[in-house]
Symmetry: C2
Subunit: 352 residues, 2 copies
């Protein structure tokens, strides 16, 4: 019996509804595969902020470091400005734990509807890898002449060789590991942005270490167009913090899975725990109603198990999700049914 130490942070809004379903499915698949868990739940989030002035305690990061992985619901709720909630919890974890890879599958799940005409699951199955620690989202920048006509705002993009090389290596390694053929680089080096020719140079240098893999690159503007027109062109797509952020929402939208998409914030070296969270956020409009779709959370659990080395268990979860989506089983309102969060979670446990 392997015991996995998992820090659980439901966070805000529907996080509290979908995380229990995620845990339930992890338990169920664990029974089948000889996995045991030590879950530690933390009540960190916006409610805690209202009571204590902090989303997490001062030693929050220290506590998380003791776990093998972090299982997060969603952060952010009306009443707390976004930059407060994000900087109070999500972003420090991503950065201090050196989770420099943000990984999202773009996959049309059987049984889901895709917004594109004449596309099926066999056409849309790739990975978006986003640099998660530097680039366009550096902390450097500010305002000048605030409140005057001469006001201006400045944001510095910083890309380092260290940060760029490691995200690209991760992309190439993943490509090999999942048996795909090609890594596509998201760039914008045709003119003005000083950082992108540098990005291209590093992509070429790292690609040379993987002669067995194919590569291509597109400027981000036309790349978003190709996501819509030719989703079948892609295996693994690697982008900077901003480009990856965009592509990892656009991809799931194109695949019809934006409401159920998972994501992983990965520290590949394992010196700190990685974090797994659904893409959907806290959804204040439906929070408390018990009708949120738990699949994003459950799928994130599968990514967590895969990351921790339990591929077969992870595959089982994904298969169970597809079985339920394809079948006549319960569906939450967002995917055309009337079931509750719990019904759908139960059905996935059953399918396991």
């Amino acid at each position: 019996m392997t015991t996995l130490k998992v820090a659980v942070i439901p966070g805000d809004g529907i996080g509290w509804e979908v995380v229990p379903e995620g845990l339930k499915v992890l338990e169920a698949v664990g029974r089948k595969h000889g996995l045991d868990y030590a879950f530690t739940e933390y009540d960190w989030g916006c409610e805690r902020f209202h009571k204590t002035g902090r989303l997490m305690p001062e030693d929050g990061l220290e506590r998380l470091k003791e776990s093998d992985a972090i299982f997060l619901g969603a952060v952010g709720f009306p009443g707390v400005p976004d930059h407060v909630s994000l900087w109070g919890l999500l972003i420090p974890i991503r950065r201090e734990m050196h989770q420099y890879v943000n990984l999202r599958p773009v996959r049309m799940m059987k049984g889901m509807k895709c917004p594109l005409a004449n596309r099926g699951p066999e056409d849309i199955d790739f990975w978006v890898i986003r640099e998660n620690n530097e680039g366009e989202y550096s902390e450097i920048g500010g305002r000048l002449n605030r409140g005057t006509d001469r006001e201006m705002a400045i944001q510095e993009t910083v890309m380092t060789r260290h940060g760029t090389d490691r995200i690209m290596r991760y992309a190439f390694d993943l490509c090999r590991r999942v048996g795909k053929q090609k890594v596509t680089s998201a760039t914008k080096s045709n003119g003005i942005i000083h950082t992108m020719p540098f990005w291209d140079e590093r992509f070429e240098a790292i690609a040379a270490e993987y002669p067995d893999l194919k590569t291509d690159k597109y400027h981000i503007d036309i790349l978003t167009a190709h996501f819509v027109l030719h989703p079948d062109w892609f295996d693994v797509v690697v982008g900077s913090n901003l480009f990856g952020d965009i592509l990892s929402d656009l991809g799931p939208a194109v695949a019809g899975s934006i409401g159920i998409a998972p994501s992983a914030n990965i520290n590949p070296e394992g010196d700190y725990p990685s974090m797994f969270e659904p893409v959907h956020g806290s959804a204040p409009d439906i929070a408390g109603k018990g009708i949120a779709n738990p699949i994003g959370q459950i799928w994130s659990g599968a990514m967590m198990l895969e990351h921790l080395g339990h591929q077969a268990a992870a595959d089982d979860i994904v298969k169970a999700i597809e079985t339920v989506l394809e079948g006549a089983g319960p569906k939450t309102p967002d995917i055309g049914g009337q079931a509750t969060t719990k019904d759908l979670g139960d059905a996935i446990v059953e399918a396991l």
Copy 2:
């Protein structure tokens, strides 16, 4: 008889094939509407660069300033690095002529195929307005420690109140002028990027000057998703230089018109001429074959006439394009036919 002074720059590749069709259509619609032209053609582009070391002569910008508008084909060709060709011609014109608005219609043309399931022309009909002179594409930035492990690249985003306010005012004015209801702002103010809260503040301030119009805003990541999932939500979308660049390729892709989309680089005050160019580029792979689709160029001509105050003539061109696309007439290979560039141009003249 009004005479319009137009500087014509075919540029590179298929620019030389589609621009003549554009001119032919302009002449034809001119005969109908009492418009006359004084065209001045310039052979500026990559071939000229090979011969003389410059894409345009030193007094190129001065010469262009004498015209009412600039009608451009495409710039860039293999053999000349992109940053050389763009900085040698396109970008100086956009910047020195203070063409701070980049305007693109996102419109599903009748007779064109759209990549989305169950969407028709009535669902996709909006405008993307891109800030064209500052923002993420500032000239400020560079490299440190080149060639070493500590190498880094830096790009500065600069947004000024002057630059931000004027693009937003243009968006609201356009919204009123074309009889639309809502202006959507593309942002990313939920966290890290210092420039985007500033962008939001200015959007709110300018919106207050237009109480008759509705507004909303989305973060760029989810906004790209909404372009695919809900293209019917949008009337006018305003974005920074980078966000607008992305959205103005993604929009036409979603509308099925990326191969035929026009664009305008506008100086609203009219102190310098504006420039009109198709989105598609020089297309080296088909250049010289006479099979390029001229509709992007012809549609750009319509935008030029509209900008110069000849709305009825512009509408006629757009109607003629749609008539040909919907009918049994000639189609170039990219839209499923076997016609030549000239055949399609002739058919549009005929339809006029």
